[in-house]
C-alpha cells in the first residue's frame, strides 16, 4: 500500500508531509511579501477560499453566513482590489507575519490531500498590532510530489469575535 504505488489512482499517497510543509511555508512567505498574483496562481479554477463565522466554525457555505466565502471570481476580484491604492484599508499596506505549524496530512483521495495546520498571523499598521489565530483546513490537488494547488482553502478562527481586530483586510 501507499509509498511504492505509482500511477494516477493514488498519487496522493506518495506525498510526504515535509513537501506540504514547504508548500505552506512558501505560501505564507508569498503572502507576507504581498505577491498576490503569485499567490493566486496556487488556486484551481473551481477553488474556494473560506473563513467561517466565529460562532459557526463548522459552517457550510451556501447554508450559513460566513466572514469570507469566495469563489474564484470573487477571490480574483479581492486580489485586484487589494493591489489597488484605493483599497484604503490596506493602502498603505500593513506588515503581516505568518507562523504556520503543526502541519498534518489528514486525508487522501485519488488526486488530492486534506491538510490541517495551525496559524498565527500578526498584522501591524499605524501602531496597532492585531493577531489572528486559528487552524487551516485545506484540500490540495496534488500536481506532483512537491507541488500542489488549492481546491479548498479554509481558515477557521479561534476568536470568539473579530474583536478588537474589527475586520479581515488581509488574506488569512
Amino acid at each position: 500500500m501507499g509509498r511504492g504505488v505509482s500511477g494516477i489512482r493514488d498519487v496522493a499517497a506518495v506525498v510526504e508531509r515535509t513537501a506540504v510543509e514547504d508548500f505552506l511555508y512558501r505560501e505564507a512567505d508569498v503572502l507576507d511579501r504581498w505577491r498576490l498574483d503569485d499567490w493566486l496562481a496556487l488556486f484551481d479554477d473551481d477553488a474556494t477560499y473560506e473563513v467561517p463565522a466565529t460562532d459557526a466554525p463548522d459552517g457550510v457555505a451556501g447554508r450559513d453566513l460566513f466572514l469570507i466565502a469566495d469563489t474564484m471570481p470573487v477571490l480574483r476580484g479581492r486580489v485586484t482590489r487589494l493591489k489597488s491604492v484605493n483599497a484604503f484599508v490596506e493602502s498603505p499596506k500593513s506588515r503581516t507575519r505568518r507562523i504556520v505549524g503543526n502541519v498534518r496530512i489528514t486525508g487522501t483521495a485519488a488526486d488530492s490531500i486534506d491538510v490541517a495546520a495551525n496559524f498565527l498571523i500578526t498584522r501591524i499598521r499605524k501602531g496597532v498590532t492585531d493577531t489572528y489565530v486559528g487552524r487551516y483546513d485545506h484540500s490540495l490537488r496534488v500536481v506532483g510530489a512537491t507541488d500542489f494547488r488549492f481546491r479548498r482553502r479554509r481558515a477557521v478562527l479561534d476568536h470568539d469575535a473579530l474583536r478588537p481586530q474589527g475586520k479581515i483586510s488581509i488574506i488569512l
Partner: protein, 440 residues
C-alpha cells in the same frame, strides 16, 4: 461649561450641534465622538432611555433555547421558556451577582449559578436555593426570581428592550419606521429567520460614525470605488448609480431608499440570475401583490433601503437583508454584530445566492466594509484635534432636497443624518447641562 446642546449660532458657543435653518448649516461638534465625558452622559441620557434592538425571535425557536449577549453594558439572556414565551433576563444572579448563564447559546430547562448553586427555571422563577432554611424570617424566594429587562416588546419577530420603565410603547417609539420594519417582515410568507452564523466585529471609533456611515450616500462611490470596479468586472450594470432619497421618519429614525444595479432576493430579478430564476422571482412578486397589493409590494420588493432605527440599529435591505446592531463600548470603540435575515423556507439555491451576495459586499471580510472602518477609524484619530478642528458638517441638501430633479440630486441627501443628530441632541439636552463637558 456648556449651556446648550443645540444652537443656531454658527460659532457653536459651547453647543454640540449647530442647526441653522436660515443659513442651511448643520454641524456636529467632534467632542460628541472624542470626549469620554460626553460618552458617559450619552449612556445615561440616550441608551438608558430608548428602545434598543436585542435579537430576533427566530434565534430561539424551541422551548429551552437561550442565547446570551451584552448590550449597553448589560449582560442579558434571551430565553424561550418551557411555556413557549420569549423573555429577556439580566444575566446576573439576584443573590450575589455571578453570571447564571455562562454559555453563548444552548438549550436547557434551568439556569444554574456556579457560585452558590442557586438555580432558576427557564421562565425565570427560582427553582432551588441550597440551604434556604438558613435565611431569616423576612426572606422570600420570590424576591430572587431572575430579573427581566424593564421593558421588552416583540415587533413582528424583532425583539426590542428598554431600560426605562416609563418609556413610551415600542410602536409609538418607532414612529414612521415601523412601516419600514413591516416591509422587511412582509418578505417571508411564513415569517423571517436569522441565518446561522454571525458577523461579530468591531471598530476603533465612536459608534455614531458607523450609524451615519450606514445611511450616507455621499461616501459610497469615492470610498468604495474598488467594489464598484469589481461589480463592473463581473458584468453587473451599475450605470444607474447608487443615488436615492433620504427620509426623516420621526423619532430620530430615518431611511434611505434607492434602486441599485444588483438583484433583490425578494423580489427584483437581475439578468445574471438567468431565465429560470426570473420566473421564480416573478412568482414571488405576484404572491406579494396578492397578499399586500401593488403599492405595498413596490415598497417590499422593488426598493433597496438602508433603515436606521434610532439609536443603533441598521437594517440594510439590499442584495441581502442585514441586521446590524451597534454596541458602544467606549467613546472610541464599538462592537458591531451583524446577522443575515431571510424568509423561512427559502429554497436552498436562493439562500445560497443571497449569502454569496451578502458575503461579497457586506461584512468585515467583504470588499467594502473594511474601507468604511478605515475611514471612520481615521476620523476618530482626527478627532484628537477636536479642540482645533471642532465641527463636522452635515449640511448637504439642507434646502435642495425637495426641489431638484432626481438625476441631479443623487447622493445629495443628508436629511437622514440630520434626523439622527437632532434626536440625539434633544435627548442629550433633556437632562440639563452635561456634567463634565467643558468645551475647550
Amino acid at each position: 461649561m456648556a449651556d446648550t446642546i443645540i444652537t443656531d449660532d454658527l460659532s457653536g458657543n459651547g453647543a454640540l450641534v449647530i442647526d441653522n435653518r436660515d443659513k442651511g448649516v448643520f454641524r456636529v461638534n467632534r467632542a460628541a465622538m472624542a470626549d469620554p465625558a460626553v460618552f458617559a452622559t450619552e449612556r445615561r441620557r440616550v441608551f438608558d432611555r430608548v428602545w434598543l434592538y436585542f435579537g430576533h425571535e427566530s434565534e430561539v425557536p424551541n422551548p429551552g433555547d437561550f442565547r446570551t449577549r451584552t448590550l449597553a453594558g448589560r449582560p442579558l439572556i434571551l430565553s424561550r421558556g418551557d411555556d413557549g414565551e420569549v423573555r429577556i433576563f439580566i444575566n446576573s444572579c439576584p443573590h450575589r451577582g455571578a453570571e447564571i448563564c455562562r454559555e453563548t447559546a444552548g438549550n436547557g430547562k434551568a439556569f444554574h449559578c456556579l457560585y452558590h448553586a442557586w438555580s432558576f427555571r427557564n421562565t425565570g422563577e427560582v427553582l432551588d436555593i441550597p440551604g434556604e432554611d438558613a435565611f431569616g424570617g423576612a426572606f422570600d424566594r420570590r424576591d430572587f426570581h431572575l430579573r427581566h429587562v424593564p421593558r421588552m416588546e416583540n415587533y413582528r419577530g424583532f425583539l426590542f428592550i428598554c431600560f426605562d420603565p416609563d418609556a413610551v410603547d415600542l410602536t409609538t417609539y418607532l414612529a414612521g419606521a415601523g412601516e419600514y420594519l413591516d416591509y422587511v417582515a412582509d418578505q417571508g410568507p411564513g415569517g423571517m429567520e436569522v441565518i446561522r452564523g454571525t458577523q461579530l466585529y468591531s471598530a476603533r471609533a465612536n459608534w455614531k460614525l458607523l450609524v451615519e456611515n450606514s445611511i450616507d450616500f455621499y461616501h459610497t462611490v469615492p470610498l468604495h470605488k474598488t467594489y464598484f470596479k469589481f461589480l463592473e468586472d463581473i458584468g453587473a450594470d451599475i450605470s444607474g448609480g447608487v443615488g436615492g432619497r433620504g427620509y426623516d421618519l420621526g423619532g430620530g429614525h430615518a431611511v434611505v431608499c434607492f434602486k441599485a444595479g444588483w438583484g433583490r432576493p425578494v423580489a427584483r430579478w437581475e439578468p445574471s440570475w438567468g431565465e429560470t430564476e426570473r420566473t421564480r422571482i416573478e412568482a414571488l412578486r405576484a404572491d406579494l401583490v396578492a397578499r399586500y397589493g401593488e403599492r405595498r409590494t413596490e415598497m417590499v420588493a422593488d426598493w433597496d433601503r438602508n433603515l436606521m432605527l434610532f439609536p443603533n440599529l441598521l437594517i440594510n435591505d439590499i442584495m441581502a437583508t442585514v441586521i446590524r446592531q451597534v454596541n458602544p463600548i467606549s467613546h472610541d470603540y464599538m462592537e458591531i454584530t451583524q446577522w443575515a435575515l431571510a424568509p423561512k423556507g427559502e429554497p436552498r439555491q436562493d439562500r445560497a445566492g443571497r449569502l454569496h451576495a451578502f458575503n461579497t459586499f457586506l461584512g468585515p471580510g467583504g470588499l467594502a466594509t473594511p474601507d468604511d472602518i478605515e475611514a471612520f477609524e481615521g476620523a476618530q484619530r482626527g478627532f484628537g484635534a477636536w479642540r482645533e478642528v471642532s465641527w463636522s458638517d452635515y449640511s448637504r441638501g439642507y434646502f435642495g432636497e425637495a426641489g431638484r430633479p432626481d438625476s441631479e440630486k443623487q447622493s445629495s441627501h443628508e436629511i437622514q443624518i440630520r434626523a439622527f443628530y437632532r434626536r440625539w441632541s434633544t435627548l442629550m439636552a433633556a437632562g440639563g447641562n452635561l456634567p463634565g463637558w467643558g468645551g475647550a
